[in-house]
């Protein structure tokens, strides 16, 4: 609760950055993307350059008018404590050597060549903004989990996602990761517990009228291979008035369990114990965890969506298909099998198959670096991204030592951006507006109107 106020508590107006002039001895560095990877890279680079007493001007580019990426648009609204990291990130934004430049799309408003001409180092931290696909017929009948998360979090690009939950009874989620559990939890949780969070207002309204009573969460492998973590799973067995059915179909021997590494052991034990847990006699809603099923086709049958799964068996860590099929009817189906990175610049190497910018310890080519999901692939908790960003910042700093601050590189001013970008002050205006109204702004036009208001 109080997500907006928490953000606002730590931000104060600063002098408009463009009023500051820099000497030619400054190194100019730009960070593309303002999510956790961008902020942690910026934070560490600032620290290293300050310690070496080397002047630095760091420009942080963001396609949206507001910063924080997945912290604002990916973390579930009922996990406000995870968003506390915004306080640390805001201290980076307030640093006198940092300029936030929002509402600017790299690759579109500014080319890679322009950036190379203007900056001594470019750090690409723009995350992963598309989906891994199932590659099965009629996949368009399936809702992207990433877009659904964007929808309930008020991400402008997903605010108009056609979501109609009123006539839904059964939701099917394909995937066994934390995003799958986030969606299941949001669909099953009592809507009143989401009030006062930073969930989008339209999403709260839709969830209030939702008819979803049953959520099926289906994975292709077994109970020992789930990708979600114990914290998220434990929340599932603690949802009030929600029952569950865990259909493991496998036996895990005590010896197998004992031999597992700690985290996997605790998670598996909790899943297996939860199979036996007493539940409320007549829960209002329920979820079912199904394993060993790979989707093969999707069909619309009347009002329903039918997803047909190939039943697998496990051979070691590998799912091997059997000749058995199972068709599961549902009202809405989600694809939650992972995010995938996208190409931002046509003239920079990009691995289309993995969706990652090829790099050697964060270095793409001379002067261009990447960290976070853009360079590592979309996985891991915030700690992994932080560590990777710190390491890459160290490399950048080391390379900057080898290059003199050159007057040829002039940073942001030399880009001659003519359209209305946003700066930290504008973000403060948006945050204040959201705090005042208690609602997250969910369109870029609305945000820009607030930025331009007196």
């Amino acid at each position: 609760m109080g997500a907006f106020t928490r953000q606002l508590g730590c931000i104060k107006r600063v002098i408009h950055q463009s009023q500051v002039r820099y000497s030619s001895t400054h190194h100019h560095v730009c960070v593309i993307g303002s999510g956790p990877a961008g902020f942690y890279a910026a934070q560490h680079l600032l620290k290293l350059r300050a310690a070496a007493q080397k002047p630095l001007q760091l420009d942080m580019f963001e396609k949206l008018p507001v910063p924080f990426g997945l912290v604002r648009y990916g973390v579930a609204p009922d996990h406000p404590e995870v968003k506390n990291v915004i306080n640390t990130f805001t201290s980076v934004l307030k640093n006198k050597s940092v300029r936030f430049v929002g509402n600017i799309q790299a690759g579109q408003h500014v080319t890679l060549q322009q950036l190379v001409n203007a900056y001594h180092a470019i750090i690409l931290c723009y995350g992963a903004t598309s989906d891994r696909l199932l590659n099965i017929p009629n996949e368009n009948l399936i809702t992207s989990a990433r877009e659904f998360v964007g929808w309930y979090n008020g991400l402008p690009a997903n605010a108009n996602l056609p979501v109609s939950l009123k006539s839904c009874n059964t939701a099917l989620i394909i995937g066994h990761g934390n995003v799958a559990l986030d969606i299941a939890r949001i669909l099953l949780t009592n809507e009143s517990s989401l009030q006062g969070t930073d969930i989008a207002e339209y999403a709260l309204k839709e969830l209030k009228n939702s008819g979803v009573k049953q959520v099926l969460i289906v994975g292709r492998r077994g109970v020992l291979q789930v990708a979600f973590t114990i914290k998220e799973f434990r929340e599932m067995v603690k949802l009030p008035n929600v029952g569950w059915d865990i259909q493991t179909e496998e036996t895990v021997s005590d010896a197998t369990l004992e031999a597992l590494p700690r985290a996997r052991k605790r998670l598996t034990s909790l899943i297996l114990d939860s199979c036996k847990t007493n539940q409320a006699a007549s829960p209002e809603k329920s979820w079912t965890l199904k394993f060993l099923r790979s989707p093969e086709k999707v069909e619309r049958v009347g009002d329903k969506i039918h997803v047909t799964f190939r039943i697998n068996k496990m051979e070691g860590e590998k799912a091997v298909p059997t000749d058995k099929l199972e068709t599961i009817p549902c009202d809405i189906a989600f694809r939650s099998i992972g995010y995938k990175g996208t190409k931002l610049f046509h003239d920079l190497p990009f691995d289309e198959a993995t969706g990652v910018i090829p790099n050697n310890h964060g270095k793409v080519v001379d002067g261009i670096y990447t960290c976070g999901w853009a360079g590592q692939g979309p996985r891991g908790v915030i700690l992994s991204t932080m560590q990777n960003a710190f390491d890459v910042a160290k490399t950048v700093s080391h390379d900057l030592d080898g290059s003199e601050g050159s007057s040829v590189k002039q940073g942001f001013e030399s880009l001659n951006i003519s359209h209305r970008v946003t700066h930290y002050d504008d973000y403060v205006k948006i945050a204040e507006f959201e705090s005042k109204t208690g609602n997250k702004l969910t369109s870029i036009d609305e945000m820009m109107r607030v930025c331009n208001s007196v």
């Binding site: 109080g2 310690a51 506390n84 932080m386």
Partner: protein, 147 residues
């Protein structure tokens, strides 16, 4: 709902995380000394007091502990190892803390989250070590000031 936000805004503006740790011990009886070791073998002597949260105390003394979620048990960025001699003196980790530790890289038997350790006199001389995968860096190398 609007009123709720304003109310919270007022509340939050007067309470700060980690403010208590900025108060010096009032007497020697209150002092709890802690030694924090980093992965490079450097040792930092931290003079804390009864009731201090180890995460915020470390921040005050510029010892490298991140604490991204600000002690709200939602991340693992203050993961530390507690010297075995002191491990049993700490209250057992809660289920939530254990769940988070499961996600921490380089987990050991003596892993804990720094934000969950509140100093008491028994813990005087406490030794903790930072794992290889957590570092903290102050922006611009500034001396931290209490908010």
């Amino acid at each position: 709902m609007k009123n709720l936000f304003i109310l919270l805004l007022v509340c939050l503006s007067v309470t700060f995380h980690g403010e208590y740790e900025w108060q010096d011990p009032k007497s020697e009886e209150e002092v709890v000394n802690v030694v924090v070791g980093d992965k490079d073998g450097n040792k930092f002597n931290v003079r804390g007091k009864i009731g201090d949260n180890l995460l915020y105390l470390s921040k005050r003394f510029e010892v490298q502990m991140e604490g991204a979620c600000e002690a709200s048990l939602a991340c693992t960025t203050c993961h530390i190892y507690v010297d075995h001699e002191f491990l049993d003196l700490l209250p057992e980790a809660t289920e939530t803390e254990e769940d988070l530790l499961d996600q921490a890289p380089f987990l050991k038997e003596n892993s804990r989250l720094g934000c969950q350790i509140i100093l008491n006199k028994q813990l005087d001389g406490l030794k903790v070590t930072l794992p290889a995968a957590t570092k903290n860096f102050y922006v611009d190398g500034h001396k931290p000031t209490p908010h």
